[in-house]
């Protein structure tokens, strides 16, 4: 990544970090479903 950090002008970085957070929650939901099958 070549993005600059302390800037308000790079929405792709915001999107990147928000997407990781959202994906993390869905991954945890998948873990819950796996635990249900144990």
């Amino acid at each position: 990544m070549t993005a600059k950090r302390n800037t308000t002008g790079d929405p792709m970085l915001d999107l990147f970090y928000v997407a990781i957070g959202v994906a993390g929650m869905f991954a945890l939901w998948a873990l819950a479903k796996a635990c249900d099958r144990v």
């Binding site: 990544m1 070549t2 993005a3 950090r5 302390n6 800037t7 308000t8 790079d10 970085l13 915001d14 990147f16 970090y17 928000v18 990781i20 957070g21 959202v22 993390g24 929650m25 945890l28 939901w29 873990l31 819950a32 479903k33 635990c35 249900d36 144990v38």
Partner: protein, 601 residues
């Protein structure tokens, strides 16, 4: 001490006043456990309390506004879905507030998005959503008052309430029979916030203000020092945030100096109050457990297992800090306490609190998943610093975070009775429930997941080479961010990933974590560390609730006596030691021996 001439050694290691302070603290926690635990049991069972005349209408209003049906209970999967949905919102909302703080009110210092970049917002949102409160920032130099209150202080309440809700759901798993319902997350969460966290924080905040903690919306003050320089003195709504950051075992300070800052903890009494607030709910929940499973002895057994480990940790950390650094003694510097000075290792400690109250605080804040600090752990002696590190690595089950300590300890109890069952060749039982493959598998998933995050996170950070000037770590390799070399440097990395994965939030310091690599990986450790414990705990709750209670027989292992307390303490310590001994032997332990050889880092 009046007859002792200045300079004369009073005690070789611990002082009587230091030991007295520790015992007074423990006595107060012991005294508070039953009344607080009983009150919480009544709250979570929906029974009437002295607060109901005022708060019951508010509770009913919350349910009406949110569309929650109080009488509708959930299966463990529905409960988990509610926890995750709530937590997703608790991540997104603070993230947005931080990034938009420049456009929002209550911002007299004019902080903007430039103070909180996307990776930093991600890290902080994860940190406060998971009850970690790891802080890459100085609150007074980065966050508007609105962010401090609406994002961070609110998260202090709701993340603690989520932990309490999960613990209560697991208790119901033990207490109920042949049902697939373990309670309603939204109801448990609302009750924890309304009846427990809000009233106690209000009282604590008023006490803090009475002692000199500040609570205002004023712009920062400028003062002229005696040397004639200008000093900026930060202001803000401090007391309200500090009260919940201790009670909710969050730990995120309003100021960078956290609980050593005189506006957060103005007196020795507030230092004691801070520590009591950290432990009081975790200790109380052990009694709540005993009460709800209709056998208070079971709760007391958990309490004493926690108490034994607390006392062991405290009475390792305190004498280590009081003994200080042997190299100082070789240089002729007095390190024993005398009438005129405290002796020992005072580096990084607040002189108002001294060595015993600092070592006690460091132990308490890492026994629980609080992470507030009143001294700098990086400056502790190697073995003094090992105590907080090991407390966290054993999953902070010593009273622990609000709810998290109890559900963590119950998972260890399941593993403990499983091991005992293997030894005597019987199907293990705990609180009248057969412990079978599902419960043991889930407990081990939780315990191993956090260990995996700590060890893999630290290992990757030590090994991955980043180019100088790269986005992820502009300074080059991630170990270039360390202030110390050798085993002490390894301790700094290990402490950071331990603190994040175990949702503690205290920093060993001595390491610059304010880069995208650390912000991202530590943020992920917080997320996964929190929920890889919560999800298996809820799965166990669902499994246990569906089982029939087994009557006690001659072959049942009693789980309310000293034998079980010893088994539980042994299980926690042995699992922690087996998992982490290799890495701590390369960090604090080898540093200890090198220090005695005259080598410092």
């Amino acid at each position: 001490m009046g007859d002792v001439p200045a300079g004369k050694v009073l005690r070789p290691a611990m002082t009587s006043i230091g030991v007295f302070q520790i015992l007074v603290f423990f006595g107060l926690i012991l005294a508070a456990t039953k009344p607080v635990g009983l009150f919480m049991a009544r709250v979570f069972q929906g029974e009437r309390t002295f607060l109901h005349p005022i708060l019951r209408p508010v509770e009913a209003l919350v349910y009406r506004l949110c569309g929650v049906r109080e009488d509708q209970e959930q299966t463990w999967m529905q409960y988990t879905a509610s926890v995750l949905a709530f937590s997703l919102f608790a991540f997104l909302f603070p993230y947005a507030l931080m990034r938009l703080q420049g456009l929002l009110p209550l911002n007299p210092q004019g902080f903007g998005a430039g103070q909180v970049s996307p990776d930093q917002s991600f890290n902080t949102a994860m940190s406060f959503m998971t009850n970690t409160n790891w802080q890459w920032y100085s609150g007074e130099a980065a966050m508007s008052y609105l962010v401090q209150m609406a994002a961070l202080a609110v998260q202090n309440f709701v993340s603690a309430a989520a932990g309490a809700a999960v613990a209560v759901a697991l208790i119901r798993g033990f207490a109920r029979q042949e049902t697939n319902l373990i309670g309603n997350f939204w109801v448990d969460h609302t009750r924890a916030t309304l009846y427990v966290l809000l009233p106690l924080s209000l009282v604590a905040a008023l006490i803090l203000v009475s002692q000199g903690a500040i609570q205002n919306f004023a712009p920062y003050s400028a003062a002229t020092t005696v040397e004639g320089a200008t000093q900026t003195i930060a202001q803000g709504p401090v007391a309200s945030q500090v009260a919940i950051k201790m009670l909710g075992t969050n730990g995120g300070g309003f100021f960078n100096a956290n609980s050593s800052h005189p506006f957060e903890s103005p007196t020795g009494f507030t230092n004691l109050l801070h520590m009591l607030l950290i432990f009081v709910l975790g200790a109380g929940l052990t009694y709540t457990f005993g009460h709800m499973v209709k056998d208070p002895r079971q709760g007391w057994a958990l309490f004493w297992a926690m108490a034994v480990m607390f006392l062991i940790g405290t009475f390792v950390a305190y004498p280590m800090e009081q003994a200080g650094n042997p190299i100082m003694a070789k240089l002729g510097i007095e390190r024993a306490p005398t009438e005129s000075q405290s002796g020992g290792n005072m580096e990084g400690k607040e002189t108002r609190f001294g060595i015993s109250a600092s070592a006690l605080f460091a132990t308490v804040t890492t026994d629980a998943s609080c992470g507030a600090v009143n001294s700098m752990h990086d400056s502790y002696t190697p073995l003094g610093g090992l105590v907080p590190l090991f407390n966290m690595q054993t999953d902070e089950v010593i009273f622990g975070g609000v709810g998290a300590g109890l559900y963590g300890m119950l998972l260890y109890a399941i593993v403990g009775v499983f091991i005992a069952g293997l030894m005597v060749g019987r199907t293990p039982e705990y609180i009248g429930k057969k412990i079978q493959r599902k419960e043991v598998t889930m407990a081990l998933v939780a315990i191993l997941a956090t260990a995996f995050l700590i060890l893999v996170g630290s290992g990757l950070t030590v090994l991955i080479p980043f180019d100088s000037g790269s986005y992820w770590n502009p300074g080059g390799p991630a170990i270039a961010n360390l202030n110390n070399a050798g085993p002490h440097g390894l301790s700094e990395v290990l402490y950071a990933y331990t603190s994040a994965s175990e949702n503690n939030g205290s920093a060993f310091a001595g390491i610059t974590v304010n880069t995208p690599w650390y912000d991202l990986t530590l943020g992920l450790c917080m997320l996964l560390g929190r929920f890889t414990f919560i999800i298996p705990a809820l799965a166990i709750a669902g499994s246990l609730a569906s089982k029939k209670a087994v009557p006690t027989s001659a072959g049942t292992l009693p789980t309310h006596g000293p034998l079980f307390v010893g088994l539980l303490v042994g299980t926690v310590i042995v699992i922690g030691a087996l998992t982490f001994f290799p890495v701590v032997s390369l960090s604090p332990i080898v540093e200890h021996f090198l220090m005695h050889e005259g080598v410092l880092f």
